[in-house]
């Protein structure tokens, strides 16, 4: 019996294991917390509008309408990269984008929207971040695609890019349209 190649085989095995680990980590970001809410009803919310605390906006105002809930804040750097994409694509998306201003100073948020533009149909403010916990938000930006039945279909953790719109949002929007008719 030839035992000469046993160490080599052991080395190859370990190398293959490490290689698998590296490629797995590249393809599956370990920093992304998988949302258990996908396929489940979106949490109900009722929050004051940004800059107009007396007027409220909630899930009941959206009944039967699909929408994209976009968590943003003026303190969030990645939101600045995301913002031009939302500005450019909101028409093409064909569904309202609800701005979810997360743990922000209202004045800062208003100034931010004046400076970079306002792609949102409505902006609601969650200063304490209570509703955000219900949505499982743990940072900004995050986005939730909610269908006409109020079910969360997709969650994006991090900035929405043109690729996310083309390969994640649009196919799902097309599928959702098919279901309604």
């Amino acid at each position: 019996m030839n035992t000469r190649f046993v160490p080599l085989a052991g080395f190859a095995l370990v190398a293959a294991l490490l290689g698998f680990g590296i490629s797995y980590m590249r393809n599956n970001s370990m920093n992304e917390v998988p949302s258990p809410l996908i396929g489940k009803p979106a949490p109900t919310f009722d929050l004051p509008r940004l800059g107009d605390p007396d007027s409220r906006f909630g899930s009941k105002d959206l009944n039967g309408k699909p929408y994209l809930l976009n968590v943003f804040a003026s303190w969030c750097f990645a939101c600045r990269d995301e913002h031009p994409v939302l500005m450019a694509e909101r028409e093409a998306l064909g569904i309202p984008i609800i701005g979810f201003n997360y743990k922000d100073e209202p004045d800062d948020a208003k100034r931010w929207l004046e400076q970079f533009g306002d792609p949102y149909s409505v902006v609601i403010a969650d200063r304490e971040g209570r509703i955000a916990i219900d949505f499982g938000v743990y940072g900004a930006p995050e986005s939730f695609l909610v269908d006409g039945k109020g079910i969360i279909r997709y969650k994006r953790i991090g900035a929405i890019t043109p690729e996310v719109i083309a390969f994640e949002l649009k196919p799902r929007l097309a599928a959702m349209k098919g279901e309604v008719q």
Binding site: N2, T3, R4, P7, M30, N31, V33, P34, S35, P36, L37, K103, E128, G129, R130, I133, D134, F135, G136, Y138, G139
Partner: protein
Amino acid sequence: MMHGTRSSFLRALLLVLALLTPAIACAIDALPFKDRAEEQRFQNLARQLRCLVCQNESLADSSADLAKDLRQEVFEQMRQGKADAEIKTYLTARYSDFVLYNPPLRGSTFLLWFGPLLILVIGSAVVFRIVRRRAAVPRNPPSAVSSEDDW
């Protein structure tokens, strides 16, 4: 002489460390605990939960904004009389099993829980086989050590 200085240095070091510990323990927001038992229950629970922003810290240790909010939430739910398990269910419903430092036992975590045991069993079997084979080889001829082992 030497011994004396070293021990007094150690004593001073210990004193400094002892003074530092409460400061570290209190780095976390002051929640209005009604007694020591409640605080201990809270700390125990918070240590089992992961901070989602800085994922290598527990909820008890993290100074992230979200961790603070979640500690507040945990505290309030404790006050509402919820059991630890109910609070954990509340959090996993929103943030998945990821918030638990102790992963639950289920199909997808089977390898995680029993993988080490499996490796131990396989390793023991290999060692057992080698030992048995060596025992079967007659001891006296030292020249029988094969040159193949010379790498």
